[in-house]
Symmetry: C2
Subunit: 287 residues, 2 copies
């Protein structure tokens, strides 16, 4: 993929919120984007709004045969099925990247079955919105967001550099490389555990009258409890072992607090609160 | 307490963030406020800033002898000690209210030892800030906030009405009455459980590098992990049994999610996510 060539052919498969926002950002930068999505309304919307120049509801071989960069905007397991079925149509040398929030059980699987003349360099745009779908596309969600590249020993310096340039063109704030395990540990804690907690807090008490009294703290903790059921169950299951560990670690810590409370251990509680305050201030400093 | 008389004597004991903000709001409405706080700097600051007209570091009998309304801005247990030591100086008929976030083990105790010619009508301004102290006083924190009055059978309609007027003068958005048990259940869930969760999330993982990657969801869930250790350990312990129940209820729900994950139960996870999404939307509607 040569980013200096604005006629380079970029094909985005799956134009939901992220795929659509990638298309918008790249098109605005003058690149030629072709979108493939089984949803005809999504293709129609994207063409009407000028998010991409070309679109198709089918993975037509002639579209794929000229792709320089293939961006997979599908859910992780759907992406694997799609690549298995369609890699035959890609020309040798096509670079493939994705947007998946989990890399274990995806990247190694894809790299194992893909033709050796194709390069799959995985990446994760840590950006999103509460609303999904191409109708909510907005390439500004990438500004101030983190972009993580998760290369393996199968990737080339050129492939990694090209994916990094993609993130630069889309104006991500920070671009980093992590190995797959480190990435999934980080995501398992910062994103998946927080969603598991928010969901549990939202579902553990069905007293509807409480809504009358909610203040900022409850709203803050449950904002992410509005959750895409299909995507998040898939992400949770792909990262199952790490997320189970994180839930156990958090639960043990909450039980420690519970124990202090049970035993009327005021000093134990105060120490915990001071530790919590100090750590949170450190996070503010890094903002 | 006659709110039509702007010369009515209002004494605020303990001018931290909430006491100071009460003083600011009442002074701006033209009332005469006298502050008592053992911290000389707080009194000096409040006088300089015009938050109150009169101040003292001592509970001088002549200040208390003319109080129409006594607002206790102290931590709950400190308040009990203060009232025990100083109620002798109050004139018959003085109305007393407080700002405590927990009412069990406080209101019944106070009402039991207070002289029968004094009325204690408890209330809870559900407002605050991340920073404490009179220096951060701001009466705008009450606008859009809930104010809860928790009367008991010992209170008079006149006492309850006067406390309600206090909340109106301070521009609270909604003013409600709850019995003590209902109040502490609501607070145990909406406020204390959320703080317990935020603290545990903040302290369960000490990988400082994670700060580099935190996104909105982790920041949202841990914003309240900066917590006043003395005040919150006191509030937790006063509401211990209810908070223990809430922690257990939340933990059981998180374990239910964990079980779905452990058993690769995709449909179980999806059902939970749909329930969570539906409930959160309901809270948005009530905003």
């Amino acid at each position: 993929m040569n980013w200096h060539d604005k006629n380079a052919r970029i094909v985005i498969v799956g134009v939901g919120l992220i795929g659509g926002s990638y298309a918008m950002g790249l098109t605005r930068q003058g690149y030629r984007v072709c979108a493939i999505d089984t949803n005809a309304q999504s293709i129609e919307f994207g063409l009407q709004q000028g998010l991409f120049a070309e679109g198709s509801t089918e993975p037509r071989p002639e579209l794929l045969a000229h792709a320089d960069l293939l961006i997979m905007g599908l859910y992780p397991t759907v992406m694997l099925d799609w690549l298995r079925a369609n890699q035959q149509h890609l020309r040798p040398g096509t670079l493939i990247t994705d947007v998946s929030g989990v890399k274990s059980n995806i990247v190694d699987v894809a790299q194992a079955f893909l033709r050796p003349d194709l390069e799959f360099c995985a990446s994760h745009p840590m950006a999103g919105k509460e609303s999904s779908g191409i109708q909510n596309s907005d390439c500004r969600i990438f500004v101030d967001a983190n972009f993580i590249i998760t290369p393996t020993e199968r990737n080339t310096p050129e492939g990694i550099a090209a994916v990094r340039q993609l993130a630069e063109i889309l104006h991500f704030k920070t671009i980093r490389q992590l190995d797959i395990h480190a990435h999934d540990h980080m995501i398992g804690f910062l994103s998946q555990l927080t969603h598991a907690i928010a969901v549990s807090l939202m579902t553990c008490n069905d007293d509807a009258e409480l809504a009358d009294f909610t203040g900022d703290s409850f709203r803050d903790l449950t904002r992410i409890a509005k959750i895409n059921d299909v995507m998040w169950s898939e992400l949770f299951l792909l990262n199952r072992d790490i997320l189970l560990d994180n839930i156990d670690c958090f639960s043990a810590e909450l039980q420690r607090l519970r124990q202090f409370l049970q035993e009327n251990d005021r000093e134990g509680l105060q120490q915990l609160f001071r530790k919590s305050t100090a750590r949170r201030l450190q996070f503010d400093a890094n903002k």
